[in-house]
C-alpha cells in the first residue's frame, strides 16, 4: 500500500492506494493553518482505520507540505509534478490539465511537448480569491455558484490580481449592480486570469481535465472555462485528490506511521522568523494606553429627551454604512454602524424608517452623505448635500484636535491619509491599485483562522514576538503567514504581526514616510480598523508619537457629514418623507453607454419610477445629456490630431503600424516617412477590451505594464486584418529634447518589438520590421534606415529616403508645434475664464482612452482645463535634479513640474501605469519638486481596470483645496 498526502494552503488530502492503484482510503479536511496538529490527527486516524497501512511507502506533496516533509525527512513530491503522475495513471488521453487550488493555479500541457506552468508570484484568481469574493458578496461559496447561473450581463473585473478585482467589485456593489452578474463576472475573471497568466502563447485545446477544489465544487466556474475555451472539459472522479494520488504513486520510501507521527510531533522550527518588539510589555502598560485613549470623547446627548432640529450624516462606506444624528450643540444623539453586505439602499432605508418610527418629533433640518455610495444614497433619499469623504473626516477631526496636522483613516477597503496645512487639506494619500493592509484584510485572515476580528486582534496585544510580515500584498501575506507558522510563530505573534503590517503598509507604501516627523506631531487616527488596540498601538510604536483616537473613530465620516449639513442647513431639508420612504422602490438596470468609445457600463438605479440615478459613467454625457467640452482637453485634441494620420493607399505595399506605446507620438513621423516613399499605411484599430483580449494569450510576462500588454492586441489585430508587413522598430534612444542627462526610452518601450517577435507564432509568415532605429541622430538616420528598408523591400533609393526623412522630421516638429500651440490656447482660454488648469501628465500613450479610462473627461467635469506635460516642458531648460534624468518622456515630467511650481492656476496630476518601474523613481522626484514649492502632488495609478471611485475622491479632494 502507498500513502499520499497533499498539504495545501487550506486543506490536507490523504489517499491510500493498493498495488493496482485503486483508492482504498481517502480524506479531505481543512487545516485552518494548524498543519502540524491536523497532520498528526490524520495520520493517527489512518493508523486506526487502516492498520494494515502501517508500514507503507509514503510521500508528501503540496505547497504547504514542503517544509514539513524536509524537516521530518519524508519524501517530497512537487505538487504539479504529482498531478501529472496521477493524470498519467487515472486520466489517460488528457491533453491539458487546469488545476486551481487554494492559492495556486496550474496549467499542464501533457501532449505536444510537455510544459508545466504554475502561477508566479501572484496568486490572483485562485481559491483564496474566490473565498474573498464570496465574503465580499456576503454569500457562501455554493450560493455564489447558484447566483452566477442567473446572470444577465458580466462586468469586466481585473483578472491580474485578486486584490484589484476586489476594488473593482466593491464600487459595482455600491452602485447597485446585481450579485448574480457579479458572481458570473468573478468566474470570468478567474478564467481570464488563469488563461492570461499561464497559457503564455500556447493554445488550450483537446481533452481538458479540471482539478482542484474550486473547479470541483463550482460547476458554473467549469462552465465559464468551457465557454471561454470553446470546449467541454472534464472534471474526473477524485478530482480533489490528484496531487495526493500522484504523491502516493511516486512514493518510494517506506516509513512506519508511528515513526512519522513521532517526527511530526518533534518537528520544531528553528525560530528563524524575523520579529518586532512586543506591542505591550505588560498589562500595566496596556492599562495606561487604554486610559489615555479613553479621554478622546465627543459630547453625547440623549435622543429620548431631545426635541427640535437634528442633523443627519450618512457615510456610505465600502463595507459598512455609518449614520449619525447630532443636535444643535453638535452633540451626538444617535449613531449606527451597519454592515451593508454590498447593498446600500435597504440598509439606509431601514435606518431612516427606524428614526421616523421611534422619534417622530425630531425634525431633520439638514442632511449630508459621504463615502463611496454618496451619490446613490443622496439620490435615493433626497439627501441635501454630498461631501467628499476627506473633507468630512477633516471637519470631524477638528472637533477633537483643532490644529490637527495629519489624519489617517484605515477603513475596510481603503486607506485615506491627508496632511493638513493652515486648516485645509494639503496632501492626500490613498491606496490605489492595491487594497492590501486594510481592515477587510485583517478580517479575512481572522476568518480563515477561525476567529472573529476583534478576538483575533486582541490576541496580538501581548505577543512576545510579533512576526515581521513585510508590507506588500495580501496574497503574498498568506504565504508569509504560512511560512511564519512553519517557523514556529504562535497565532498571537501572527495577529500582532498582521496589525503591524497594516501600519507599515500605510506608512511606507501609501504615505511613503521616511521618518515620523514627516507626519507631524498632531495626528488623529480613525476608521474602523483603528478600533483594534493592537493596530493603534502598532501605529504609535512605529511613528513614536502618541495619537488621538476619537471614541467615535469608526463614525468620523458620518459625524463630519452631519457637522457639514448643520453648517450648510437650508430652511428645510429635502430629505425623503416618511410615507415616501415606505413606498420607496429601488430597481437596478444595467446598460452600455454608447456616447463614446469608452463604452462605460452604466448602472441605472430607478427609485419609485420617477427618479433615476446613473452611475458607472466617466463623463457627464449620459447624465447631463451634453457633450463634454473638448475644447479645453489636450488629450482629446491629440487623439483628434493623430486620427489625421489614418489609413492610406500607396503604390507600394501597405505597412501596418500598431498604435501603442511610443507610436502615440511617432505616428506623424513614420506616417509621413512611409507615405512619402509611396507605401500605404494601415493603422491598427483603437484600443478596446476586445482588442486587448485578442492578443492576451501571447503575453509572456504578466507583471508588465498594461500599455505594453495592449500592444499584443494591436499587432494581432493587424495580422487578423491580413496585413503582410508591420513596422514596429526597436529604439533605445528617443529624441534629445535637451531636458535631461540622456534621452533613452524606457526598456519596455525601447525593446517591446522583440517580445512581439518572440511570442507571436505566425509572425514569421509576414514581414515584421523591428530593426533598431536611431531617430535621435538626424544626420545619420537616412543612411541607416535606407539599409534597413533595402533588406525588406526592392527598389529603395537612398535619395528618396533622404527626402522622406527630411519631411518626416519636419512633420514631427510640426505635430509638436501644433500640440504646443493648442496647449497655449487652452492655457490662455482657461486663464481668461479663470479656470483651473490640470497638467495631466504621463507618457504619450496615456492619451489612449483604454489606458486612461476617461480620467481626462472626469477632470473636465470638474470644470478644469487639461493640458499635457509636453505643452509646458519646453518652457523650462535643463537643470540638474536629484535623480539621473535620462529618459526623454520622463524629463518632460520634471520640467513640467518645475514650470508650474509658481503658477497659481496650474496643478499637476500624474498618471502612473501599474508595473511601471521607472515611475517608482519619477513619482518621488516630481513630488519633491512640487512640494518644495508648496504645491500639491497628485498621482493616479491606473491599470487594465481602474477603480475610478478612488480616483474621484482624490480629484474631488484636490479641487476642494484649490
Amino acid at each position: 500500500m502507498k500513502i499520499g498526502l497533499d498539504i495545501g494552503s487550506t486543506t490536507i488530502k490523504c489517499v491510500i492506494i493498493n498495488e493496482n492503484n485503486e483508492i482504498v482510503y481517502k480524506s479531505y479536511e481543512r487545516h485552518y493553518s494548524q498543519i502540524k496538529q491536523k497532520l498528526i490527527d490524520i495520520l493517527s486516524k489512518v493508523k486506526k482505520e487502516m492498520p494494515e497501512s502501517n508500514f507503507s511507502q509514503i510521500a508528501i506533496s503540496g505547497s504547504a507540505g514542503m517544509g514539513i516533509a524536509e524537516k521530518c525527512g519524508v519524501q517530497f513530491v512537487q505538487e504539479v509534478y504529482a498531478t501529472r503522475t496521477a493524470a498519467n495513471v487515472f486520466a489517460k488521453g488528457t491533453d491539458v490539465i487546469i488545476e486551481l487550488g487554494g492559492e495556486d493555479a496550474k496549467i499542464l500541457f501533457l501532449t505536444g511537448g510537455l510544459e508545466v506552468r504554475m502561477n508566479g508570484s501572484c496568486a490572483g484568481g485562485t481559491g483564496a480569491f474566490i473565498d474573498q469574493m464570496a465574503t465580499l458578496l456576503a454569500v457562501p461559496i455554493d450560493k455564489m455558484n447558484d447566483l452566477s447561473m442567473q446572470y444577465e450581463k458580466t462586468y469586466t473585473i481585473a483578472s491580474r490580481c485578486g486584490v484589484f478585482a476586489k476594488s473593482d467589485i466593491q464600487p459595482l456593489l455600491n452602485q447597485g449592480a446585481k450579485k448574480s452578474d457579479i458572481a458570473k463576472s468573478i468566474f470570468m475573471a478567474v478564467v481570464n486570469q488563469t488563461i492570461a497568466g499561464l497559457s503564455q502563447g500556447r493554445k488550450i485545446c483537446g481533452n481538458v481535465l479540471y482539478l482542484g477544489g474550486p473547479l470541483t465544487f463550482m460547476n458554473e466556474l467549469r462552465k465559464s472555462f468551457d465557454e471561454t475555451l470553446s470546449l467541454v472539459g472534464n472534471c474526473p472522479e477524485n478530482s480533489l485528490y490528484y496531487v495526493a494520488l500522484g504523491a502516493a504513486i511516486g512514493a518510494s520510501e517506506t516509513y512506519s506511521l508511528d515513526g512519522i507521527v513521532q517526527k511530526v510531533e518533534n518537528y520544531k522550527s528553528d525560530d528563524a522568523f524575523a520579529y518586532n518588539n512586543p506591542l505591550f510589555k505588560d498589562e500595566k502598560e496596556y492599562e495606561e494606553f487604554k486610559d489615555r485613549h479613553q479621554k478622546s470623547i465627543i459630547k453625547k446627548g440623549d435622543i429620548e429627551n431631545y426635541s427640535g432640529d437634528v442633523y443627519l450624516g450618512v457615510d456610505a462606506g465600502s463595507t459598512t454604512v455609518k449614520a449619525v444624528i447630532i443636535g444643535e450643540n453638535n452633540e451626538l444623539l444617535y449613531s449606527k454602524y451597519l454592515p451593508n453586505n454590498g447593498d446600500l439602499v435597504p440598509v439606509v432605508k431601514s435606518f431612516l424608517e427606524e428614526i421616523f418610527e421611534k422619534y417622530p418629533n425630531l425634525n431633520i433640518k439638514s442632511s449630508a452623505a459621504t463615502g463611496y455610495g454618496e451619490e446613490l444614497i443622496k439620490n435615493a433619499f433626497s439627501i441635501d448635500f454630498g461631501i467628499v469623504e476627506t473633507v468630512a473626516h477633516l471637519i470631524a477631526a477638528k472637533k477633537f484636535m483643532p490644529d490637527v496636522e495629519f489624519i489617517i483613516d484605515i477603513g475596510g477597503q481603503d486607506i485615506k491619509c491627508f496632511k493638513v496645512r493652515n486648516g485645509v487639506i494639503d496632501n492626500i494619500f490613498l491606496n490605489e491599485a492595491c487594497s492590501s493592509g486594510c481592515g477587510s484584510f485583517l478580517q479575512t485572515f481572522a476568518n480563515a483562522l477561525g476567529y472573529s476580528i476583534s478576538d483575533f486582534a486582541q490576541l496580538g496585544l501581548f505577543a512576545k514576538k510579533p512576526v515581521d510580515l513585510g508590507s506588500r500584498c495580501t496574497v503574498f501575506m498568506n504565504s508569509s503567514v504560512k511560512q511564519a507558522q512553519k517557523d514556529g510563530a504562535y497565532i498571537e505573534d501572527i495577529s500582532a504581526g498582521l496589525s503591524l503590517s497594516i501600519v507599515k503598509n500605510a506608512l511606507y507604501k501609501v504615505i511613503r514616510a521616511g521618518s515620523p516627523d514627516e507626519l507631524g506631531k498632531k495626528i488623529v487616527v480613525q476608521g474602523g480598523t483603528f478600533l483594534n488596540d493592537a493596530v493603534l498601538r502598532a501605529f504609535e510604536q512605529e511613528i513614536m508619537t502618541n495619537v488621538i483616537r476619537p471614541d467615535i473613530s469608526g463614525l468620523m465620516g458620518a459625524y463630519g457629514a452631519a457637522l457639514y449639513a448643520k453648517k450648510k442647513a437650508p430652511i428645510s431639508s429635502a430629505i425623503i418623507k416618511k410615507d415616501e420612504l415606505k413606498n420607496l422602490i429601488h430597481e437596478v438596470k444595467s446598460t452600455l453607454c454608447n456616447g463614446c468609445s469608452n463604452h462605460c457600463k452604466l448602472t441605472i438605479n430607478i427609485f419609485s419610477k420617477d427618479k433615476k440615478y446613473i452611475s458607472g459613467n466617466r463623463c457627464e454625457k449620459p447624465t447631463a445629456n451634453k457633450e463634454s467640452d473638448d475644447r479645453l482637453n489636450m488629450y482629446a485634441y491629440k487623439l483628434g490630431l493623430l486620427k489625421q494620420y489614418g489609413d492610406t493607399k500607396g503604390e507600394r505595399e501597405t505597412i501596418g503600424i500598431p498604435m501603442g506605446l511610443n507610436m502615440f507620438e511617432l505616428l506623424p513621423f513614420w506616417h509621413k516617412f512611409f507615405t512619402e516613399l509611396g507605401f500605404g499605411i494601415k493603422v491598427s484599430p483603437p484600443s478596446s477590451s476586445e482588442l486587448y483580449m485578442l492578443g492576451q494569450h501571447t503575453i509572456p510576462s504578466d507583471t508588465i505594464c498594461f500599455p505594453a500588454k495592449l500592444m499584443h492586441g494591436h499587432v494581432e489585430a493587424l495580422m487578423v486584418g491580413g496585413i503582410k508587413t508591420i513596422f514596429y522598430p526597436c529604439m533605445s534612444y528617443n529624441f534629445d529634447e535637451g531636458l535631461g542627462d540622456n534621452h533613452y526610452n524606457c526598456p519596455v518601450v525601447a525593446y517591446y518589438p522583440e517580445v512581439i517577435t518572440a511570442n507571436f507564432k505566425d509572425i514569421k509568415n509576414i514581414t515584421f520590421i523591428k530593426d533598431y532605429v536611431g531617430i535621435h541622430k538626424e544626420k545619420e538616420f537616412p543612411k541607416k534606415i535606407y539599409k534597413i528598408l533595402s533588406q525588406h523591400f526592392d527598389n529603395i533609393q537612398l535619395i528618396d529616403v533622404m527626402s522622406a526623412s527630411r519631411k518626416a522630421y519636419k512633420e514631427y516638429d510640426n505635430y509638436i508645434k501644433r500640440v504646443r500651440e493648442k496647449g497655449q490656447e487652452i492655457i490662455n482660454f482657461a486663464e481668461k475664464e479663470n479656470r483651473q488648469i490640470i497638467v495631466l501628465s504621463g507618457r504619450p500613450y496615456h492619451i489612449d482612452p483604454e489606458i486612461n479610462h476617461g480620467i481626462d473627461k472626469l477632470i473636465l467635469s470638474f470644470g478644469a482645463a487639461i493640458i499635457s506635460e509636453d505643452v509646458v516642458s519646453g518652457k523650462e531648460g535643463y537643470e540638474k535634479i536629484n535623480v539621473l534624468n535620462q529618459w526623454t518622456y520622463h524629463s518632460r515630467l520634471y520640467s513640467a513640474a518645475k514650470y508650474i511650481k509658481d503658477k497659481k492656476n496650474m496643478n499637476l496630476v500624474q498618471l502612473v501605469s501599474f508595473g511601471c518601474g521607472i515611475d517608482a523613481i519619477t513619482t518621488d522626484e516630481v513630488r519633491d519638486i512640487l512640494e518644495k514649492e508648496g504645491k500639491i502632488y497628485t498621482q493616479l495609478k491606473i491599470d487594465e481596470i481602474t477603480n475610478l471611485g478612488a480616483i474621484k475622491i482624490r480629484l474631488r479632494s484636490l479641487f476642494a483645496t484649490l
Binding site: 514542503m66 507583471t703 540622456n742 525601447a750
Partner: protein, 448 residues
C-alpha cells in the same frame, strides 16, 4: 577630522583627506570576485569593508527608505548600507559608501541617487557616496580608478570567474568535503599577495596562475556521479548575490544539483561592445569607435587566456568565447538590446542549453523592466530553438516568500530529474565532464 566638501551641484565629495581616515563600505555581490577587488583597493590605500550581512532587517530598512516599487536590488543594497550605518559598528564621521553605476537605460543607473535620497531621509546626509563607474560620472578628489587599479580589478574579475567556474564544477562531486572551498581561500590569499606586489595582472601571470588554479582543482578527488545540471542566469544582482536570491546556489546544491553561473567577464565585454553596436546601428565617431575597440580587444585577449588555459584541463566544461555566445542570438534578439543584461541574458540561456545545462533558473527582481523583454519575453523562443530547455523564471522581491520560489524551482527540478533518468542509458548525455574524466585529469597534470 576631514572637512566636508561639496561640489557646485551640492554633492558631498569624497576628498583626499577622507581617503586617509574613512572606511569605505562596499555591498557584496560576488564573494570571490569582490574580495579580490577589495584587496586591490586596500593596497592602494583605501580602507574598505565588504558588507556580508544577511538578515531580514536589511529589506525592512530598504523598504523604509526606498520607494517600495523600486527594484529589489536597490531596496537590498540601500537597506544593507543603512542597516550597517545604524548598527553602531562604524564611526559615522569616518564612513563612506561605494556603489557601482552603469549608466544604461535601466533603473539601476539611478541607484546611487536613490541611495543619497535614502541617506537624507535617514539622517545620514553627511556620509559621502562614491560612484564606481567607467563612464566618467561623478568625480571625487579622493577616489580615482587609475589604469593600474583598473588592470588589477579586471584581473580580480578574471580570477573570480575562473575560481567560481571550477568550484561549481568540482564541489558537488568532492570525495573530501570542503576541498574546493579551501582552494578558493588559498587562492584568494595567494592572488591578493601577488596583486599587492604588482604581479598577477599581466597576461603572462594570468596564464600561469590560471593554469595552476585549474591544476589544483583537477587534483581534487571526485566521485563519479550523475547530477541534475542547472544554470543560473538573470538580473546581475539577484543572479549572483545570495542576499538577493535567497541563497539560491545553496538551495540547488542541497537539492543535489551541479550548478553553472555564467561569469561576469561576459557582462563586461557586453557593456563595452554595446557602445560599438550603438555606433554601428545609429552612427558615431571614428575615434570613439577605435578607443572602444582597444578596450574590447584587451578584454577579449584576457578571455582567450582564460578559455585556452582551462581547456588544457580537459575535465572541465569550458565557457564559450564571447563572440560565439553573441552569435547564438543572431536572429533571435537584436544586438541593440542593451539595457540591463540585454541580449546577453538570452544568449546565456541558449549557451547553457547547448552545454547540457538546459535546466535554468532565470532570476529577476519583481517587475524588472529589461527582463520582461530579454528574460521572460524570450523563453518561448528559446524553447522553439532548443526543445530541451527547461526554464523557470523566478521573481524576487521583499514580499515573495522563499517557500513559493523554492516550490517552483522544485517543479523545474522534477522535470529535470525525469529527463535525467530518461537519458540514463546514454552515458554521453547529461553527465558532468568533471565527474567522468577524473582519471584522465590526473594524467593531464603530470604532463606539465
Amino acid at each position: 577630522m576631514a572637512e566636508l566638501c561639496y561640489n557646485k551641484e551640492g554633492r558631498l565629495i569624497f576628498t583626499k583627506e577622507m581617503k586617509k581616515e574613512y572606511t569605505i563600505l562596499l555591498p557584496m555581490m560576488l564573494p570571490i570576485h569582490f574580495k579580490l577587488i577589495q584587496n586591490t583597493l586596500e593596497h592602494y590605500g583605501y580602507k574598505t569593508e565588504l558588507l556580508e550581512t544577511n538578515c531580514p532587517e536589511i529589506a525592512t530598512e530598504g523598504l523604509k527608505y526606498v520607494h517600495n516599487d523600486t527594484c529589489y536590488p536597490a531596496i537590498l543594497v540601500i537597506g544593507q548600507f543603512i542597516h550597517a550605518l545604524k548598527s553602531g559598528k562604524y564611526d559615522l564621521n569616518k564612513t563612506a559608501l561605494m556603489i557601482t553605476q552603469t549608466g544604461g537605460g535601466c533603473r539601476a543607473s539611478n541607484y546611487i541617487h536613490l541611495l543619497r535620497k535614502a541617506l537624507r531621509k535617514a539622517g545620514f546626509e553627511k556620509i559621502p557616496v562614491i560612484s564606481l563607474n567607467l563612464s566618467g560620472f561623478e568625480k571625487n578628489s579622493g577616489f580615482k580608478v587609475t589604469i593600474p587599479i583598473l588592470k588589477r580589478m579586471v584581473a580580480g574579475l578574471v580570477y573570480g570567474d575562473t575560481l567560481m567556474l571550477l568550484k561549481n564544477q568540482t564541489k558537488p562531486f568532492e570525495v573530501n568535503k570542503g576541498e574546493s572551498l579551501r582552494l578558493i581561500d588559498k587562492w584568494t590569499e595567494k592572488l591578493t599577495k601577488q596583486l599587492n606586489e604588482g604581479l598577477g595582472s599581466s597576461i603572462k601571470d594570468l596564464k600561469n596562475n590560471l593554469n595552476e588554479i585549474a591544476a589544483d582543482f583537477s587534483n581534487i578527488k571526485v566521485k563519479k556521479e550523475r547530477k541534475v545540471k542547472v544554470g543560473i542566469v538573470g538580473e546581475i544582482y539577484v543572479k549572483y548575490s545570495s542576499l538577493g536570491n535567497n541563497n539560491l546556489e545553496e538551495f540547488l546544491e542541497n537539492q543535489g544539483c551541479e550548478i553553472c553561473v555564467p561569469g561576469i567577464l561576459n557582462f563586461m565585454l557586453f557593456k563595452i561592445d554595446n557602445r560599438l553596436e550603438d555606433i554601428k546601428l545609429y552612427g558615431g565617431s571614428w575615434l570613439k569607435k577605435h578607443i572602444i575597440l582597444v578596450l574590447l580587444n584587451y578584454f577579449k585577449k584576457i578571455e582567450k587566456v582564460l578559455i585556452k588555459t582551462i581547456s588544457k584541463h580537459s575535465n572541465f566544461e569550458v565557457p564559450k568565447p564571447y563572440e560565439e555566445i553573441k552569435a547564438l542570438v543572431d536572429g533571435v534578439i537584436g544586438y541593440g538590446n542593451k539595457m540591463g543584461e540585454g541580449w546577453l541574458l538570452t544568449a546565456e540561456m541558449l549557451e547553457l542549453c547547448g552545454s547540457n545545462y538546459e535546466n535554468i533558473v532565470c532570476t529577476q527582481p519583481f517587475g524588472c523592466l529589461p527582463n520582461h523583454i530579454c528574460g521572460k519575453g524570450m523563453i518561448h523562443k528559446i524553447k522553439e530553438i532548443n526543445s530541451k530547455a527547461n526554464i523557470v523564471a523566478i521573481d524576487y522581491d521583499p514580499g515573495s516568500p522563499k517557500v513559493n520560489q523554492e516550490n517552483r524551482i522544485k517543479l523545474m527540478l522534477s522535470i529535470a530529474k525525469e529527463n535525467l533518468n530518461n537519458t540514463m542509458e546514454d552515458p554521453k548525455i547529461n553527465i558532468s565532464k568533471r565527474s567522468t574524466n577524473q582519471v584522465i585529469s590526473k594524467y593531464s597534470i603530470s604532463h606539465q
